[in-house]
């Protein structure tokens, strides 16, 4: 296509976007069918249509392997669709379709990563073809019809269309002019027979009689080859002028060569045609036309198996553009602050300016909210991906499992959702593999043989909570504790450890209590990777479990990474932003309220509770800061039930900030989530309460 001068970039993006969407849709359909233990007509239609679309798009992009796989799949479902009552090995069929999906997915991934789609689909295609052949054979046996002709209702024939066969020249039409036309189409124009038929069709209105060779252009696909070789011969008589005949014929697209001759008599091959033609006619009527389900199924398309009816009022926008928009809005927010809080204005009485500034502020806030909401996507896509994993694993592990999905409409930022899929997949795998017991064990312990995994999402303040729950064997506190002790991970008296703390050991690197390494979840690598991935997007994981009853894993992730409400504080000459969500309160205290233990750790008592004091200037080695407790201010921060008081110089103000990632050349510092540009152009580091608490209270 590049030779057409059309840039491939947006096309490729669209191809991948739509392709992935279709493949996911397809996967859902298959898994639903498997659950229902049948392929509904609606589902078969949908599968056929999806494969048809993928085939078409892939051919356009010249991804021929994907196209061929989709094509053979399309053929397969075309056959199934046409023969509703056919015996199908459903398990084999869904396996086959799923491997097709996997192939297409893999190839699309390769393309997305800028690699060549070099996978060969030959084996797969062969497999699909074998299935098709078997189906056809069993169908024939079943119906004892010797050919590939079908059981279509005879009314199909009524749509057939024949142009009158040759009849001896009629009398009384002396002013008719007879024409003999030979048409050649361009090479590679495809479907020459249908194009020939179009020529005839166009002539319909102006001719009295018409004959053509080959005569079976509609019914016989091979006639295309004949036309390609010998051209298409048409003879007709008409009363209209030569010019009109010519212009009518010229409507034909892809004309390479056309000879229009006025003749006195039709050539012998035409006059001899009528006899043969009649025979052909009888033949074709006697044999029912193979059903064209596109036709028969129009009504049924409506209740197609998925709920994914796309709405027409939705457009798709590339994420890169949204990122850009977000960035610009971020800059606007900053510029707005730069203008309205400009130091040149200090001390001036500017009534109407302030009014205008307030209006501007309101609008930028709205703009921000809208941009944020545009970026929000429901977690359903990620959640439904898990269906496939549960399906595959329950087959391999021979465990029966129900996956319940709750709250799939909960929305999170697009950037976050992209990082959610892998960790969730891992958690589900763990639940399947380690969490749920084998069927026998479940029955023995009085549980239903079918296990249950629940995947739930809900909003919780500024965060989204994702819960992966199973009703399996649960975690064993003793086992974990033993292992943690072996690995030297326990730093506290054991009786002081809460269950939650014990369970959280499994999130650490190199920890696994499962002796067997299985295909799906290995030994120890995994949960720590999950933790890291979740922390990367500013989230955290906690685990709850009841031994023998099941495990619950809570993944807390922020709604968005891009903009947060924060309190700006100063320490020495540096400014920091503390996310408002992590702040519980702030207050001043006196020197004597601070208690020190023997190691020099400072603490304060508030309402009978003891909280550690973290001096920011010590943590980040800042000079020229306030060091007298009574001169500064305490900010109490909390995260995951850990709480501490940060000692800072003073509170500067409250504002929304646009989070920018730290530049790559800076090493990741635990406790710093990113940075932001302040209204005066200065830089403020954004604190990550979770990181600070983890770092200081470890």
């Amino acid at each position: 296509m590049s030779e057409d001068g059309i840039s491939k970039e947006p096309m490729l993006e669209m191809y991948l976007f739509e392709g992935n969407q279709l493949v996911e849709q397809l996967e859902e359909i298959i898994i639903k069918c498997e659950k229902d233990k049948q392929f509904e007509m609606g589902a078969i239609n949908e599968i056929f249509r999806i494969m048809h679309t993928i085939k078409g798009s892939s051919a356009m992009m010249m991804f021929n392997q994907i196209g061929s796989v989709a094509h053979s799949m399309e053929d397969l479902f075309f056959f199934i669709r046409a023969n509703e009552n056919i015996q199908v090995d459903f398990a084999g069929l869904s396996d086959l379709v799923l491997s097709g999906i996997d192939f297409i997915k893999d190839e699309m991934n390769k393309i997305a990563q800028g690699n060549a789609a070099d996978g060969l689909g030959d084996d797969l295609i062969a497999e699909i073809n074998i299935m098709l052949i078997q189906m056809k054979k069993s169908y024939e046996d079943q119906n004892a019809i010797p050919a590939v002709i079908s059981n279509s209702p005879p009314n199909e024939t009524t749509t057939k269309y024949y142009i009158s066969s040759y009849q001896p020249p009629s009398e009384g039409k002396e002013d008719n002019t007879k024409y003999y036309v030979q048409v050649f189409f361009e090479e590679d124009c495809q479907m020459e027979n249908i194009r020939a038929y179009m020529v005839v069709n166009n002539l319909q209105d102006i001719v009295n009689e018409i004959y053509y060779i080959p005569a079976d252009v509609i019914d016989n696909g091979e006639s295309a080859d004949i036309i390609r070789e010998n051209g298409f011969l048409i003879c007709f008589s008409t009363q209209v002028s030569y010019a009109e005949v010519e212009s009518t014929l010229n409507q034909t697209a892809f004309l390479r060569k056309m000879e229009i001759n006025q003749v006195n008599e039709y050539p012998a091959e035409i006059t001899g045609l009528h006899r043969r033609r009649e025979i052909v006619l009888e033949d074709t009527i006697a044999v029912d036309e193979p059903p064209h389900p596109e036709f028969a199924e129009i009504g049924k398309d409506r209740d197609a198996g998925t709920g994914n009816n796309r709405q027409q009022n939705i457009i798709s926008v590339s994420v890169a553009k949204l990122d850009m928009l977000m960035d610009i809005v971020g800059e606007i927010v900053i510029s707005e602050a730069m203008v309205t809080k400009n130091s040149d204005l200090a001390g001036l009485q500017l009534e109407s300016f302030s009014k205008a500034a307030r209006q501007l502020r309101k609008l930028t806030d709205e703009l921000q909210d809208i941009v944020m909401s545009i970026r929000m996507v429901p977690v359903s896509m990620v959640f439904h991906k898990m269906n496939r994993i549960v399906r595959d694993m329950s087959k391999k592990l021979n465990k029966e499992v129900d996956l319940e999905i709750i709250g799939e409409t909960t929305e999170v930022d697009k950037n976050i959702i992209d990082h959610l899929s892998d960790p969730l997949m891992h958690l589900i795998r763990n639940a399947m593999d380690h969490g749920l017991e084998s069927k026998e064990e479940r029955v023995r312990t009085g549980k239903p043989a079918k296990g249950k995994i629940t995947l739930e999402a809900k909003n919780a303040g500024g965060d989204v909570l994702i819960i992966v729950r199973d009703d399996g064997r649960g975690l064993s506190r003793d086992k974990i504790l033993n292992k943690a002790r072996e690995r030297g991970l326990v730093h506290k008296p054991e009786h002081e450890l809460t269950d939650k703390e014990v369970f959280s050991y499994i999130l650490l690197a190199g920890f696994s209590t499962n002796e067997q390494v299985t295909e799906f979840s290995g030994r120890g690598v995994g949960m720590d990777v999950v933790t890291k991935n979740i922390e990367k997007i500013g989230g955290s994981i906690t685990i709850g479990s009841l031994f023998g009853k099941g495990t619950e894993i809570f993944v807390k992730i922020p709604l968005t990474l891009a903009i947060i409400d924060g309190i700006e504080v100063s320490v020495g000459l540096s400014r920091y932003t503390i996310p408002t969500i992590s702040i519980r309160e702030s207050f001043r205290i006196d020197e004597q309220d601070v208690i020190s233990d023997e190691d020099g750790n400072e603490m304060i008592m508030i309402r009978g509770q003891c909280y550690p004091v973290l001096r920011m200037h010590r943590m980040f080695a800042i000079k020229n800061s306030v060091t007298r407790i009574s001169d500064g201010i305490m900010v109490m921060i909390e995260s995951d039930e850990k709480t501490a008081c940060l000692f800072v110089d003073k509170l500067v103000g409250e504002q929304q900030v646009v989070v920018k990632a730290l530049p790559r050349y800076l090493k990741k510092v635990q406790g710093i989530a990113g940075c932001t540009i302040l209204g005066d152009g200065g830089i403020s580091l954004i604190l990550d309460a979770h990181g600070i608490l983890a770092r200081q209270l470890a």
Binding site: D4, M60, E294, Q312
Partner: protein, 117 residues
């Protein structure tokens, strides 16, 4: 400038056609992702040309073509289809389709068809 309504359930094909057409001086005034929407949009937009996919959910291309032709006997509808759909194309031609484009198409082949309208 001729106005075009593009009908296809695949976004990718709609985008491909749109880019090709706009580059060549056609004015793409609307898109539809199934036959029902296509009929509605035809009524609304009165495009000079419609490119019509055949295999679509809800209402397929041939049926949409019939409905459009019933509303407007002069409607210029070009079918877009893949190899193997000969019978459907024939039905479409009988129902009044002006021509057809075979997927995968090139800019050249699309223009050759549309310029004949």
């Amino acid at each position: 400038m001729k106005s075009v309504l593009i009908v296809d359930d695949a976004m990718f094909i709609r985008l491909s056609l749109k880019m090709m057409l706009e580059k060549n001086g056609f004015n793409v005034i609307g898109e539809a992702e199934n036959g029902a929407v296509a009929v509605k949009k035809y009524q609304e937009l009165k495009p000079d040309i419609v490119t019509m996919d055949i295999t679509m959910p809800e209402v397929d291309g041939v049926e949409a073509l019939r409905q459009i032709r019933a509303m407007d006997g002069n409607a210029k509808v070009v079918m877009v289809s893949a190899m193997g759909q000969e019978v459907m194309i024939r039905n479409a031609i009988m129902a009044g389709a002006k021509n057809f484009i075979v997927k995968p198409f090139t800019e050249e082949s699309v223009l050759k068809v549309l310029c004949k309208l």
